[in-house]
């Protein structure tokens, strides 16, 4: 005891003096990737564990390495000096980045990052100071040079009695969120004919942005080779060059977006390259790397694809009605060939400028953070609602309920003789058409995001050119123009008929919205939609009587749409909705929280707590086979078992901590608390009898 105290005092003294005194002789300020050791809580209770973080702050241009550094470099090492009764677990690394330099692949961290280690304190450890010391070595590199660095880090923890509260450091929530989340199920891999293939079970509705598989074991894959990724239903298949060594089992991290990934284990088996390709290589950063002939020609192919895509956009149900009318107006614009051509070119310029500007806005929004792809945004029900209101309004406009003042504005400018008018008509057309195509273009837009900005902008511009192509054809090929019907009374009927595809689009959006937010919230959003329609009707009625209700209608419209957006659930609420709807399932459950658990236990009720996530196939299989079964529900109801469900689909620090406390880094976890007894951890594969036997 005395010795521990003495050691503690010495350590306290050592940590109190300047870091230059550290035994390595290294001044911490001189390090390129300095490390700081932080504890989640200064106090720890006997029998509990405490998480330490090595917080690494690379200087600009410097980087540190993942546990498998790739082709070159070295991971971190830890040499612990721990008091008796304290053991250190494995280091947990955040999701790394790739850095490819002249074909040599490095698995690295560029910005600040934290490596976590759990210290288990045995229940034999007496209250008092707990000095922790660790000598760590790591490699710090820039793109040009590497410097091996090391430091001796100290931290003095305090062992406290079990009844003393422990206050956690909230920074650890962010550190944990950066860690890969364990995938519930096992992947399969194959090494054959110089190819490495990995099939990862990943539900189809999990968004994957720029997937990359970081393998932990060396000698299996060629790190520098590109990774081909296919998506086939509920699996993601990755193919890359193998290096030849064979192993029974491998492990690694599947990165699906920046700072987001899953850790997984894989065992040997057969893997076929099925499904559709997601991307041909993760390192799109090389793309603008210089005037390589083949690169330029391939950008040409991509641009060609975009132009054809833009052309096809003319046929989209909500674009066609607007644009076909524009085409006819252009055709009737006048007999003068040069005027028609000039107007068509100006119109094209308007379309291209707006399409590119919208693309730039999109890229800018993405670059400014939030780390969410466009596809992600479209899953936000509020965006869908906005599109729904827009499509409905356009539909009623075509049907003749009211005249769009914006179009009048555009027409007024268009009537200003000259190209300026046509330019603004084109800009307006692209502006109305582009967001309207959103839901149909989600995948394509998502794909432009993996491209470097310049290439993505060129593709957006290409979409604009494609969109304007029919008008260019009408203007420059007189034969087509002469075949267009002359405007007349039929045009009005045609316009009204064109409302039908718009309304069909609206129905599609309603269906989509309903799937996202459930019938209750959908009902609410339809009421807002009705409000929007009534305002437009009232506005149109005013137009017929020659009354100007523009100002009132506009403010009322903004209020209605804003209200709709405000009252619609956001992503977080959607999750709650899902938990709430769980009460209507076979085995009703409440959302898990530690407070609710202790309440239930205090009231002497048996509790079944389970932790699941949408992307965890094992969890879903167990739920289908054992949890959500009538037999289970009946048995639990008879025994008055309370059911708590923890949804870990999105990162939740409370659940992460709880899982960690039970020795699990991931879901599924099934716990049964008999009244007054320690919890039983159930197996990862459940059967109905596993559950019913608990209560009989």
């Amino acid at each position: 005891m005395f010795a521990t105290m003495l050691a503690a005092i010495i350590f306290a003294l050592l940590t109190a003096v300047s870091p230059a005194v550290a035994q390595t002789g290294l001044d911490r300020r001189e390090l390129n990737v300095p490390a700081t050791l932080v504890a989640e809580s200064q106090q720890v209770q006997p029998g509990q564990s405490v998480t330490l973080a090595f917080v690494m702050n690379p200087k600009p241009t410097w980087h540190g390495y993942w546990e498998n550094p790739g082709d070159a470099g070295i991971g971190m090492s830890f040499d612990w000096k721990l008091p008796d009764g304290v053991t250190a677990g494995d280091a947990q690394y955040p999701v790394p980045d790739t850095l490819l330099i002249s074909g040599i692949m490095n698995y690295i961290y560029k910005g600040d990052y934290a490596v976590l280690v759990n210290l288990a304190v045995s229940d034999q450890v007496k209250p008092g100071p707990l000095p922790i010391s660790v000598k760590s070595e790591w490699l710090a590199c820039t793109d040009e040079v590497c410097v091996p660095e090391q430091d001796e880090l100290f931290i003095n923890l305090q062992v406290v009695d079990k009844d003393v509260g422990v206050s956690p450091n909230n920074a650890f929530n962010a550190y944990r969120e950066a860690l890969p989340r364990p995938l519930g199920s096992t992947a399969t891999f194959m090494v054959k004919d110089d190819l490495f293939r990995l099939s990862i079970p990943l539900p189809a509705d999990v968004d994957v942005e720029a997937p990359y598989f970081f393998i932990k074991e060396d000698g299996i894959v060629d790190y520098g080779a590109p990774q081909k990724v296919n998506r086939d239903g509920d699996s993601l298949i990755i193919e890359t060059a193998a290096r030849g060594d064979a192993l029974q089992n491998i492990s690694g991290v599947l990165k699906i977006a920046s700072n987001m990934g899953f850790s997984l284990d894989a065992s040997g088996g057969e893997v076929e390259m099925s499904g559709v390709p997601l991307s041909g290589g993760a390192d799109s950063g090389n793309f603008t790397g210089g005037g390589d002939q083949s690169k330029a020609s391939l950008l040409f192919i991509a641009l060609g694809g975009a132009i054809v895509g833009g052309l096809l956009l003319n046929l989209m149900p909500c674009v066609f009605p607007i644009l076909s009318l524009k085409a006819i107006s252009l055709a009737k614009a006048g007999g003068d060939e040069t005027v028609v051509r000039r107007d068509a070119l100006a119109y094209t310029a308007g379309v291209v400028v707006v399409a590119t500007a919208l693309g730039a806005l999109l890229l800018g929004l993405r670059a400014s953070g939030a780390a969410v792809g466009w596809a992600f945004q479209l899953q936000d029900p509020r965006i869908i609602f906005l599109l729904l209101a827009l499509v409905t309004a356009i539909g009623f406009n075509l049907a003749g309920l009211f005249e769009l003042p914006n179009v009048n504005f555009g027409n007024r400018l268009a009537q200003k003789d000259g190209p300026a008018g046509s330019f603004w008509t084109g800009a307006l057309a692209a502006f109305v058409a582009t967001p309207c195509t959103g839901p149909f273009m989600a995948a394509a837009l998502g794909a432009t995001i993996i491209l470097p900005p310049i290439a993505a902008l060129i593709i957006f511009a290409g979409l604009g050119v494609g969109l304007a192509l029919p008008f260019l054809l009408i203007a420059f090929v007189p034969a087509i123009r002469s075949r267009l019907p002359k405007p007349g009374a039929w045009l009005d009927s045609f316009r009204k008929a064109m409302a039908i595809p718009m309304f069909l689009t609206a129905i599609g959006l309603i269906w989509l919205l309903g799937r996202q937010i459930g019938t209750d919230a959908l009902g609410l959003s339809l009421i807002f939609l009705l409000l929007v329609t009534l305002i437009l009707w009232w506005f149109g009625g005013g137009q017929m009587k020659g009354l100007s209700r523009g100002t009132w209608a506009t403010s009322a419209l903004i209020a209605a749409i804003f209200g709709g957006v405000l009252f619609l659930p956001n992503a977080e609420a959607m999750n709650e909705q899902k938990v709430a709807s769980a009460s209507s399932t076979t085995l009703p459950s409440e959302a898990f929280s530690e407070t609710r658990l202790s309440e239930l236990r205090a009231s002497n009720r048996p509790v079944f707590a389970y932790f699941t996530a949408d992307w965890c196939i094992t969890c879903k299989a167990n739920e289908a086979a054992a949890v959500q079964r009538q037999e289970t529900a009946d048995a639990f109801a008879n025994a008055n078992v309370a059911v708590l469900m923890g949804d870990w689909t999105r990162p939740d620090p409370e659940i992460s901590k709880f899982l960690e406390k039970h020795g699990r880094a991931g879901v599924p976890l099934y716990l049964y608390y008999a009244p007054g007894e320690e919890p039983v951890i159930l197996p990862q594969i459940l059967t109905i009898s596993t559950l019913t036997d608990l209560v009989t």
């Binding site: 040599i104 290096r243 995948a443």
Partner: protein, 205 residues
């Protein structure tokens, strides 16, 4: 329809962006790729000229801390001397590009070689990185052994302690010395492949 077009074009763009800069690695058991390089005296050296002898290749960058570990401690020089004593030829190859860390012209290499007491038969300059890439040399040091029949029998690290700490050399298994010993005894190389460690080779991009 639109999806298809867009996805195909995007896949094409993505595919080209991932062109493999490094040539396929040499395989153990296969005949090692022949090459010609200029040494630090301007003399041309060809691998196939050494047919009949065991050849050790060492990738080198004098500025890399891991290379420094093995030269400052005398470990690399001792390994070179032992190899040559057994009749093996030692080629030290520098694939550092001009302007990158470790790049040297002939005279600088001669001085370094003398100052450090290097025992290599030849110090070869691979400024364009052609040979380095043909062998997929990734780190400095990165070691390769070619047997008398011209077959590649070892590729990987100098030893099994991937640190920059000289103190670790004593307790490490020197893969090159071990492989040369096994070859000498007419045995096959027991550890024919290991993970190379060190700094990345500073190729011209």
């Amino acid at each position: 329809m639109f999806y298809k077009f867009a996805m195909i074009s995007i896949a094409a763009v993505a595919a080209m962006s991932a062109a493999t800069p490094l040539a396929a690695a040499q395989k153990n058991g296969a005949i090692a790729q022949d090459f010609k390089l200029t040494d630090m005296y301007g003399k041309t050296v060809q691998l196939s000229d050494f047919r009949g002898k065991t050849v050790v290749m060492e990738w080198h960058n004098p500025g890399c801390p891991f290379v420094v570990k093995h030269y400052d401690s005398g470990n690399m020089q001792a390994t070179q001397a032992a190899a040559r004593k057994q009749g093996a030829v030692w080629l030290t190859i520098n694939s550092g590009a001009q302007g990158k860390q470790g790049y040297m012209k002939g005279p600088a290499a001669q001085k370094l070689s003398k100052d450090q007491g290097m025992n290599a038969d030849h110090y070869l300059l691979d400024v364009k990185g052609v040979v380095g890439k043909a062998y997929a040399a990734k780190t400095t040091p990165h070691m390769y052994i070619v047997d008398g029949a011209g077959k590649l029998v070892y590729q990987g690290g100098i030893d099994d302690k991937p640190t920059a700490n000289k103190a670790d050399i004593k307790s490490a298994r020197n893969h090159v010395t071990a492989a040369l010993g096994e070859l000498k005894a007419g045995k096959s190389v027991s550890v024919a492949q290991s993970r190379p460690y060190g700094c990345s080779v500073k190729y011209a991009s």
